[in-house]
Amino acid sequence: MTDVPNVRDALVSAIPNLRAFAISLSGDYHFADDLVQETLLKAWTHRDKFEPGTNLRAWLFTILRNTYFSDFRKRRREVQDVDGEKAAQLATPPEQYGHLDLSDFRAALKLLSSDQCEALLLIGAEGFSYEEAAEICGCAVGTVKSRVNRARARLAELMAVGSVNDFGPEIISQTVVARSTG
């Protein structure tokens, strides 16, 4: 007999953060919920592989990001319509940082590369250490640091006047093409 109720409780308590990570990373609620569902299923199925005493949260995030980067990212490209709309909204440049609202920031976040976005979320939003994030992402600590720096620099760039206009329309046209496959 395993300690089933404990596993369940632990998974339930991790769901809000897994979800926030999945939504922020993928930029799509429905897609993210599929991702979390898949993560929970895998975690449950492989729960004997989890070593008690180690960081369950990090383990779950590892499963989620591996799932995202292995199969889900391909699917995501086909459901990117929301991103295009958000990018279009961003095309109105804020006068200065202070005037940015959260939807502008959300849109800017979606324009980061997946690698950079992931690193920024793990460090800046989830509060993992660089070492933990490196383990989750399966890369070197220095790589995580560099990705976080790039992500921040890119966000600053995106939030600055004008720059978004350069690639917003491109994303929107990609979206239109992808959309027609649905």
């Binding site: 395993t2 809000p16 979800r19 926030a20 920031f105 976040l109 620099a153 720059s163 093409v177």
Partner: protein
């Protein structure tokens, strides 16, 4: 299903017809060592946390609880 499969062809043709395309060279790649000023970095951090915690605070969708209930039930019935 594709409503119009010609998008890519058209794009390629235009590019071929106009090989000396200029003015699109804006390289957005950032130097990893770029140093943001502190206020920008702080603001990015604040926005990130605000956006993130907004989602964290949302109620857990039923589908996840149902999934776990179902997995638990299957486990018991085994």
């Amino acid at each position: 299903m594709h409503a119009n499969g010609k998008n890519d062809e058209v794009g390629d043709a235009q590019r071929l017809a106009n090989p000396t395309e200029t003015g699109k060279s804006a390289d957005c790649s950032s130097d990893p060592d770029i140093k943001l000023d502190e206020s920008a970095q702080l603001l990015i951090g604040q926005h990130l946390k605000a956006v993130y915690s907004e989602i964290v605070r949302q109620p857990i969708p039923d589908q996840f609880l149902q999934l776990l209930d179902e997995l638990e039930r299957k486990e018991r019935d085994r």
